[in-house]
C-alpha cells in the first residue's frame, strides 16, 4: 500500500547550519526514492533521487542517505540558505511512473 512518510512537519534551522530531513517508508519492496522541494505557490521540484542498491548519493549541497534495514531515508542540506526554505517531500516512484508522496516537512531558515 501507500507507504511513504516523514517524521517531522516542521524543521527550523539557522542560516549556514546543516539541515537533515527524514523520511520513513514501510514497503520493503520500494526501490526508488526521490526528494522534492515545493516552494510556496509552486509545484514540486526534483532535488535528488536514490535507488535501493545505493546507500548514499550526493548532489550540489544535498546528500540523500538510504538505510534499507530500518526503511529510512534522509535528505541532508549543507550550509542551509534562506532560499532553501520550502516544504520537502520524499516520494517513491512505482513501476508505472506514479509518485507516492510523503506528508512533507516545512524547512524554515532563520537569518
Amino acid at each position: 500500500g501507500e507507504s511513504v512518510g516523514l517524521h517531522l512537519p516542521t524543521l527550523s534551522v539557522q542560516e549556514g547550519d546543516n539541515s537533515i530531513i527524514n523520511c520513513a517508508y514501510s514497503n520493503s519492496a520500494s526501490d526508488y526514492f526521490i526528494w522534492y522541494k515545493q516552494e510556496s505557490g509552486k509545484g514540486p521540484q526534483f532535488i535528488i533521487d536514490i535507488r535501493s542498491n545505493m546507500d548514499k548519493r550526493q548532489g550540489q549541497r544535498v546528500t540523500v542517505l538510504l538505510n534499507k534495514t530500518v526503511k529510512h531515508l534522509s535528505l541532508q542540506i549543507a550550509a542551509t540558505q534562506p532560499g532553501d526554505s520550502a516544504v520537502y517531500f520524499c516520494a517513491e516512484k512505482g513501476d508505472t511512473g506514479k509518485l507516492i508522496f510523503g506528508q512533507g516537512t516545512t524547512l524554515q531558515v532563520k537569518p
Binding site: Y32, Q38, G41, K42, G43, P44, G97, K98, L99, I100
Partner: protein, 115 residues
C-alpha cells in the same frame, strides 16, 4: 528551459458545476500525470496517461473525473460535478519516460476552490 504550464492558476466554481483544468506538458514528453494537494496535506496521485489512454488511476479518480488529450499539446482534467472536497491544488506533470530514473516535471498548479 522547457516547462509544464497550467491554466488557470486559480479557479473558483460553485458546487455541482463542471470544471476543466488545462495543462500543456513539455513537448517531447510521452507520459502525463495529474496530482492533487489538499491544503496542508501531501501530494496525491490521481491518474497517469500514456498513448491516449489512462494507464493507472487512484481511488480518488472516480467517475466524476476524466482526462483527455484533445490535441497534440494539451492535457486536460475534467471534474463533472464538483464537490466542496474537490477544493485543492491540482498539479499536472509530464515525463519522457516512466522508468524510475526519469524525472517528472511539475507545473505550477491550479488552485481549485469549490464554494
Amino acid at each position: 528551459e522547457p516547462e509544464v504550464t497550467q491554466t488557470p492558476s486559480h479557479q473558483v466554481t460553485q458546487m455541482g458545476q463542471e470544471v476543466i483544468l488545462r495543462c500543456v506538458p513539455i513537448s517531447n514528453h510521452l507520459y502525463f500525470y495529474w496530482y492533487r494537494q489538499i491544503l496542508g496535506q501531501k501530494v496525491e496521485f490521481l491518474v497517469s496517461f500514456y498513448n491516449n489512454e489512462i494507464s493507472e488511476k487512484s481511488e480518488i479518480f472516480d467517475d466524476q473525473f476524466s482526462v483527455e488529450r484533445p490535441d497534440g499539446s494539451n492535457f486536460t482534467l475534467k471534474i463533472r460535478s464538483t464537490k466542496l472536497e474537490d477544493s485543492a491544488m491540482y498539479f499536472c506533470a509530464s515525463s519522457p519516460s516512466q522508468t524510475r530514473n526519469t524525472e517528472a516535471f511539475f507545473g505550477q498548479g491550479t488552485r481549485l476552490t469549490v464554494v
